[in-house]
């Protein structure tokens, strides 16, 4: 089925963002993690068999501008309310992963009317002193890869390669990564506890929490913590996955999500 990519203008052109859309059905908005969403991955394709998947790139990540108009995570949530208006969307299924999960949780609290059901995969946003999350800004590459994936080598092997001789493409990939993490830092540096705990009680739509049981970046102990703070929420753990279950076990991830969304 595939997807189409378009540019969407939000708040009278203050933001011009890249949006991918694919599939038919109830609208499902997917909010990507800190690293951005470089590819229309298999899990998005699978979801698009059942839903109309809308995958925007956050302002400040490669392909979307307007970061200068956002100072913090609340600004980001309000921006997404404007984005939904610009897209003519209401009552969406909102799915967010990690940093995208933190944004989705904020939208669930601050923009209730836009969200029909909420899916938060390993959302950022809460902090327990006894269980510090990984400093992914400073962690060595090998430590980070092990925190993200059960089998880093397999994941790396399956990803599209850039020819190291292609200096321009290499430089662009490096710059894209730097841009994504720099934008992430604007919302979560140096610790991602930015007030969600004061707003999370307002999440009142059906909510599913998903965690990889080997998540090395955002420890699974945060699952029950979120669950406690969101009334009536469900928590599903996907065994044998780490911080990116949608990449390592896309079928399981999609099944868990669609079982919940119906």
């Amino acid at each position: 089925m595939g997807f189409k990519e378009e540019k969407v203008s939000v708040r009278n052109g203050m933001f011009n963002v890249t949006v991918r859309r694919g599939g038919r059905g109830d609208p499902l908005v997917y909010l990507h993690a800190a690293g951005g969403q470089a590819e229309w991955e298999p899990f998005l394709e699978m979801l698009s068999q059942k839903y109309e998947v809308i995958q925007p790139t956050h302002p400040g990540w490669p392909g979307s501008d307007g970061l200068e108009h956002l100072d913090d995570i609340v600004d980001m949530a309000i921006y997404y309310c404007d984005f939904f208006d610009a897209m003519g969307l209401s009552n969406v299924h909102l799915v967010g992963s990690s940093m995208g999960g933190m944004i989705a949780a904020e939208i669930g609290a601050l923009g209730r009317n836009y969200v029909r059901k909420l899916v938060l995969h390993a959302p950022a946003g809460l902090w327990l002193d006894e269980y510090p999350t990984l400093d992914f800004f400073a962690a060595p590459q090998d430590v980070l890869m092990k925190a993200l994936y059960m089998d880093p080598e397999k994941v790396m092997a399956s990803q599209p390669k850039i020819d190291p001789e292609n200096k321009e493409a290499m430089a662009k990939a490096m710059l894209d990564r730097a841009m994504s993490l720099a934008a992430t830092g604007k919302f979560v540096w140096p610790i991602w506890d930015k007030g969600l705990k004061k707003r999370i009680h307002r999440i009142n739509m059906p909510t599913l929490l998903i965690w990889g049981d080997h998540d090395g970046l955002n420890p699974p102990v945060y699952g029950p913590h979120f669950q406690k703070l969101i009334a009536g929420s469900k928590l599903v753990t996907i065994p044998g996955t780490a911080h990116v279950p949608m990449t390592e076990k896309p079928e399981e991830f999609v099944k868990v999500v669609s079982d919940f969304l119906g």
């Binding site: 730097a178 934008a183 540096w189 610790i191």
Partner: protein, 408 residues
């Protein structure tokens, strides 16, 4: 030209196997490695070394700011400048400086620097570094991508606080103050000269050029990198139609004098090696917080921070360091010649010499300072005499200066 003595104030007792056993000299270095008794001794030695430099005729003495590290033990340069203000008479107090985005409200910096300027009789140079990524993002938790914006706002507030004759309100993005009215006021008018130390960020060059401040190239990476950075800076000055006055440029240089070239190696090479091997043992994950370098900085080829640390590969020898110019050493004649060449070629009117580095002890440092002051300094002064130095202190005339007699 003007020549200054710059002291990093390193911790000199890191263990032999520091590089192998420990993760980084910055940010997560174990505090157990710091012995405050030893610290007491070395702070006082280092201050003596700076005071002695002032005594033998150096124009200025420089201190700077770093956090959570053993590379430079001065989290608060203003404290060092305060004690130096009372123990020196004529030397410029070059505070390089306060990382102004770290202080809230930044009027604290305006106040402390005004205090220093008044206390010293108008001898303060106000250095405003952005601060390294280790200091600002990792040690002080600043958001990397907004650091520069916050820095500029802090700068605007400080300058306005120094120059506005009436109390004013400041409605900034990072600082809001209903009443800005700092006491005391700086002695130098309109305010102490501003120096901006930098790595090699084009963003910084543009701004420093526009503001007509002094740009200080703080790097120990040697001649080639200094030439690249300062060459680009002079090109920018040319494009902006600013006169290529060498006094608008400062540079650090490690410098060691001895009676012979062989003696120089014997006296200094071990301590210098300690500096490059241990003091620059930075964990790379702490040297480039995402967003610290702007897109433009990255695209211009500005390296991540590392201060010229040993980059992989083979061992760098003393001879290599002399050749690359990261260290200038030898007889007074040789050192004089190299410094003259370097400053002429690069257009450096304010030379900041590091005469203590790494684990170099007090006795050897004092001798270095003495030889530099007696045999090298007098042979550098004539350089750039055709230019006016508009970036230097304007101290109070002698008749108006306090006697500094103490309680006697």
């Amino acid at each position: 030209m003007k020549v200054h003595s710059f002291h990093l104030m390193p911790y000199p007792d890191l263990p032999e196997d520091f590089r192998e056993r420990y993760h980084s000299v910055y940010i997560d270095i174990p505090t157990a490695l710091y012995d405050p008794v030893r610290g007491h001794q070395v702070y006082n030695d280092y201050l003596d070394e700076l005071e002695f430099a002032a005594e033998v005729g150096f124009d200025g003495i420089c201190v700077n700011e770093h956090h959570s590290n053993a590379y430079g033990l001065v989290p608060s340069p203003n404290l060092m400048a305060a004690t130096l203000a009372r123990r020196t008479k004529n030397a410029g107090l070059v505070v390089l400086g306060n990382s102004i985005a770290l202080y809230n409200p930044p009027t604290r910096v305006a106040e402390e620097m005004a205090m220093l300027d008044v206390l010293s009789g108008g001898r303060l140079i106000a250095g405003f570094p952005l601060g390294t990524t280790m200091d600002t993002n990792f040690a002080y938790g600043q958001v990397p991508i907004t650091l520069r914006d916050k820095y500029h706002e802090a700068h605007d507030l400080i300058i306005k606080a120094w120059t506005e004759p009436e109390p004013f309100a400041f409605n900034g993005k990072y600082t809001q103050l209903r009443y800005v009215n700092i006491w005391p006021r700086p002695l130098q008018k309109p305010h102490p000269p501003v120096w901006v130390p930098g790595g090699s960020s084009p963003e910084t060059w543009d701004w420093v050029c526009e503001m007509d401040y002094l740009y200080a190239h703080l790097s120990l990476s040697g001649h080639a990198s200094a030439k690249r950075t300062l060459g680009s800076y002079y090109n920018l000055l040319d494009k902006a139609d600013k006169e290529p006055n060498p006094y608008r440029v400062g540079m650090t240089q490690a410098c060691f004098v001895a009676d012979s070239d062989d003696e120089a190696e014997e006296l200094y090479s071990e301590a210098v090696e300690y500096f490059y091997e241990k003091c620059l043992h930075f964990y790379p994950g702490f040297t480039d917080a995402p967003g610290y370098r702007t897109q433009r900085d990255i695209q211009s080829g500005m390296a991540r921070q590392g201060f010229g640390r040993n980059q992989g590969g083979g061992k760098v020898t003393w001879k290599d360091r002399l050749e690359s110019g990261s260290v200038i050493a030898g007889t007074p004649e040789r050192v004089t010649e190299r410094l003259r060449e370097t400053c002429k070629e690069l257009g450096v009117g304010h030379l900041m010499l590091l005469m203590q580095l790494g684990s170099l002890n007090r006795e050897t440092t004092m001798r270095n300072v003495k030889l530099m002051g007696e045999k090298v300094l007098p042979n550098l002064r004539d350089l750039f005499s055709e230019w006016e130095d508009k970036w230097w202190i304007k101290p109070l005339v002698n008749e108006k200066r306090a006697a500094l007699t103490g309680a006697k």
